[in-house]
Symmetry: C2
């Protein structure tokens, strides 16, 4: 059934007839519950003993970019947050805040993209909500996805499990998502053929754990990139992370774009890359697993114990001459609305 | 620790140092996890066999209104969506989309209000996310709360459980939230001392079930009010709902405001009122329970079986002369951003 209106009206969020129409014409066909009846909350059988719960809002600009769109991003983003605890995704919620005047055809494309991405992850959107704000009080579509997962392993995957001597790995080359988004913003006058690395990571994580790697910590390298993730983990774990600058895999287009725009590739956002911290003796096995999905996966650093004074510099970069310098965490202002 | 900036900057959403500061100075003190360490997803022990899952975004304007604010609304709103399945709230997520330039003091007030509301419901905010959009691309604060609850009863509370002959009850007088919001919008030039009915309903629902009332369906009367909720349930259940116009409890100020503005009080939003559908023989017991919380709770109608042609008019209103007319579901355009 084609939606009855060409654009989103304020009344589509008012809870009356037009809200019902939007649900019946667009959302139910995409995400229909088994019985076709909507209720205030969805019920599900508890999938296991330990659950994971996460939420993420997406305000990416533009809504469609090389390698993805806000819908895929919203699904894979929350699936990946679950995956960072080793959890298998079970149920998704979908909250949309639409701007009055949004083209209905664009909303349809995003909704179908959400459905396809959820199908690809084997997870269902089981509850949702849609609001509409006046023209100029939003920006097309903002999406929130929250997700429930189930933890089916016995590992403690957490910053506090990180140990001195652990190896620090990345699951592929870094910075593609950030560069793809910046290139898609026409006002920057900068072009690239690079696509976002946007991808779900739960299968990779599952294979890593199933292969017997004693994973200590996982972190997807989204906003703030490798620099922020390393900083947060080192500070949480009370350790120091030393990164080998030359080992960090970067596509030449990412390096080129960062040079051009004066950005740090280590702070660039990814949406399908993660940090893996595991015992050094498990690093080779972990890399073998990671390389089934991405041949650029590699070891980029090591965890050290610290003295109190050294904790002022939680992350160090070692350059090719062996010189160490603190890794800079950006203030964050250069890359708004990257996800 | 007072936040280091007076207003929200784009960089507070960039994933770098300022994002960390916002979390450490404002969000962790309000919602600190037991170990003080944030991870991509929160873990929880499964609270039971059947879970309820819901999501809701809040774009209410203004952010503070008589009887509440967007923070309380976001917590009670999701708690109430869970309660409509009879579920006890267990965990909340908090997704915030902030507009650049928002006063940090206002954000602090909202965050503290969220914490106080969650405490009042015995539920914890266990995972969250914050994004920032440019000035003029949002409107102060939009909030998404998603919630996990546990179902600890054996009833089927669902539109499909509604039976001809069932009684239709409301838990209190209707329309206060809608009128309070409209009065708070100064541009309407209309004043009222009425406060929103905003309140959590899970305790009332729990008492109703514990008292032995065979609850068939619950629905909180938010956007679209009694008119929309009755329409949706009647259509889902394949029944007709007949409402007694004179029985519907309305405060004189709600009637007055609706007369003045040309609005239908039955379409006005509530945030602390629900529809209860149960067997007629349980209606007296249900009302006794409901009146512990609100003496205005009463029976407003009855469920009838329908022929196919009658399903074109899922809700009928009977006036004091006994004349029946179809109940009108608004298109929804009159009351944008009520929640």
């Amino acid at each position: 059934m084609a939606p009855s209106h060409d654009t989103v009206l304020l009344a589509h969020g008012g809870g009356g007839r037009l809200s019902q129409q939007l649900i019946e014409e667009l959302l139910l066909p995409a995400f229909a519950p088994a019985d076709g009846v909507l209720h205030d909350a969805a019920l599900l059988n508890s999938p296991g003993q330990t659950l994971a719960f996460t939420t993420d809002s997406f305000v990416v600009k533009p809504l469609f970019f090389p390698g993805g769109d806000i819908g895929r991003l919203a699904v894979f983003g929350s699936v990946n947050d679950l995956a960072m605890t080793g959890a298998r995704p079970v149920a998704l919620s979908l909250g949309m805040i639409l701007e009055e005047g949004l083209a209905m055809s664009l909303l349809e494309r995003v909704v179908h993209s959400i459905r396809a991405a959820a199908d690809a992850c084997g997870v269902a959107v089981i509850t949702g909500d849609t609001k509409v704000v006046e023209r100029g009080k939003g920006d097309g579509i903002f999406i929130n996805t929250s997700a429930i997962g189930v933890v089916e392993h016995a590992l403690k995957i957490h910053p506090s499990a990180v140990q001195p001597g652990d190896a620090v790995l990345v699951s592929g080359d870094l910075g593609r998502h950030g560069v793809a988004i910046l290139a898609a913003r026409e006002e920057l006058g900068f072009r690239s053929t690079l696509e976002s690395d946007l991808a779900p990571l739960h299968t990779t994580v599952n294979e890593l754990i199933s292969s017997g790697v004693e994973v200590h910590c996982l972190r997807d390298l989204t906003r703030g990139g490798l620099a922020s993730a390393s900083d947060e983990i080192a500070r949480s774990a009370g350790c120091q992370i030393e990164l080998e600058e030359a080992a960090i895999p970067l596509h030449s287009s990412v390096n080129g774009a960062c040079d051009l725009l004066g950005l740090d590739p280590l702070s660039m956002a990814n949406e399908g890359r993660m940090l893996v911290i595991c015992p050094e003796v498990h690093a080779a096995k972990a890399l073998e697993q990671l390389r089934h999905h991405n041949p650029a996966a590699c070891k980029v650093g090591t965890v050290h114990s610290t003295t109190t004074s050294e904790q002022q510099q939680p992350v160090l970069l070692r350059n090719t001459l062996g010189v160490l310098r603190p890794c800079d965490v950006s203030r964050g202002e250069l890359l708004p609305r990257i996800c």
